[in-house]
Subunit: 256 residues, 2 copies
DNA sequence: TCAAAAGTGTTCGTAGTACACCCATGT
DNA sequence: ACATGGGTGTACTACGAACACTTTTGA
């Protein structure tokens, strides 16, 4: 699924590759944050947003939209490179999680020099306030194809892969720690799950599941009640602040 | 986990990368097959084996061991490149499945030119007979570190990553189709699961789980009884011959 | 006192495990 | 017939989903 089903090689498939062939390796990152959509027209329910950038620089009427990234430096790993390129747009210290997605290697996925893209998924807690430079913006992922045109090159596919990865890991890991604030009411966490998954999640059951797995723990403190009254919520936090698999081997697990 | 925690870059981390820096991209594949270990001393229970190759050519007394692979050609995707390099050792048409693993990019993971490795997991059905050239061999994965020395460079880590990926997907996908023969008794399939997972799997329950999920279906035919008598087994086959997720979202699944 | 939000308890369905028991074959 | 492996049936456990009911606040 990562590699597009490119047509079979037209040249001699067993030709030894010239060691000096021009070859670029770029790193592209899909960074997500759940944020209450900028327009305050609606009763803004939080939405999953992705960080996009205009590759031609800011200030256009109809900017092209691309994922942030760039080339790999000679002395850095790919993960370090991803962080370095993201530092142009946001405070990378706030990035709570970053992990590798697949490599996109179709020979002509971008025009010009043969460019292989190693892609990353990054997550930013919902309470991290970012000051984006010109040409960068948070775009709700469910408003991508229809409204603004498609993304540059194959970046749309990369965002899709990132969404799928996130949705899957929400189900069997504690990855939501990287999308949630340090402390939160279960209703807030539920909204984050809803935004990331795209469907409703029962708040009470979410608490039960995550408690049993010891993914979240109560802090003992309570938060403030909402605008229209209601009982003040207990506050929780994630037990770990790094990825942990919580439901490995749902089936075919080792005996005992 | 894919990128080793390399030391922070020593040079200027924000230096723009020279577009003509020497950079190699290699493809490495961990190909697995469950095979009844060559030595006929034991009551040979099948074991998970990985295809290794002596990078210095065959005929050594104490060969080094490495994963098969090599550089990417200018007109091929990484997956195509993986298949091309594997063709030196086996009939790639027999490879029932191949998928991307992570990228290994530590700056000095191999000496000399900066080399980034894109890695693949390949699976060969247990009944595929292979005629390996000199210098290539099937090595049981549980006999890697202790007996023969470690693998070259970081290839040991790559094999570990491949094993983990396989074990995980055995639990929630139909990936075993790529390790099993076209037709098989459930006891054979059970042995394959045992070999790949490293622990015992109950044959009767395996049938139930895989039947309910419509992963395997009965062919209606029966096989021959074993060496010491016993009821002849019903034969089964996998419903699909391509990867399918069978247990997506074990928890937090969409309503209805 | 009423609405709104949070939290608790209960019921239900279902998937997976363990294990006993029955079936079919070769010797 | 009997040992050997294959297959079926059943009971048990656990987890997650749904939903009703209770609790705590603000207006």
């Amino acid at each position: 699924m990562p590699d597009e089903p490119a047509p079979p090689p037209t040249g001699d498939p067993s030709a030894p590759d010239p060691p000096d062939q021009p070859l670029r390796v770029e790193v592209l990152s899909a960074v997500f944050q759940v944020r209450a959509a900028g327009d305050m027209s609606q009763q803004d329910t939080p939405r999953l947003c992705v960080l996009l950038r205009d590759p031609d620089g800011g200030g256009r009427t109809c900017p092209r939209r691309a994922l942030p990234g760039g080339d790999v430096g000679p002395r850095e790993t790919l993960a370090q490179s991803a962080r370095r390129h993201l530092a142009d747009d946001l405070d990378v210290a706030g990035l709570a999680h970053i992990e590798q997605l697949s490599v996109f290697s179709a020979p002509h996925r971008v025009p010009g020099t043969r460019t292989i893209a190693s892609t990353y998924l990054g997550l930013l807690p919902s309470d991290a306030r970012t000051q984006l430079p010109d040409g960068a913006a948070w775009v709700p992922v469910d408003a991508l194809d229809p409204v603004t045109g498609p993304l540059v090159h194959d970046h749309g596919k990369i965002v899709d892969a990132a969404r799928q990865r996130l949705a899957a890991k929400l189900s069997y890991t504690n990855i939501a720690f990287a999308l949630a604030p340090r402390q939160f009411a279960m209703s807030e966490l539920s909204e984050i799950y809803c935004a990331a998954l795209g469907y409703n999640v029962d708040t009470t059951n979410l608490l039960r599941v995550l408690s049993r797995r010891a993914v979240v723990v109560a802090t003992g403190t309570v938060g403030r009640t909402g605008r229209n009254g209601g009982r003040p919520p207990a506050l929780y936090r994630f037990a770990d602040s790094e990825l942990r698999v919580t439901d490995e081997f749902a089936t075919l697990r080792p005996p005992m």
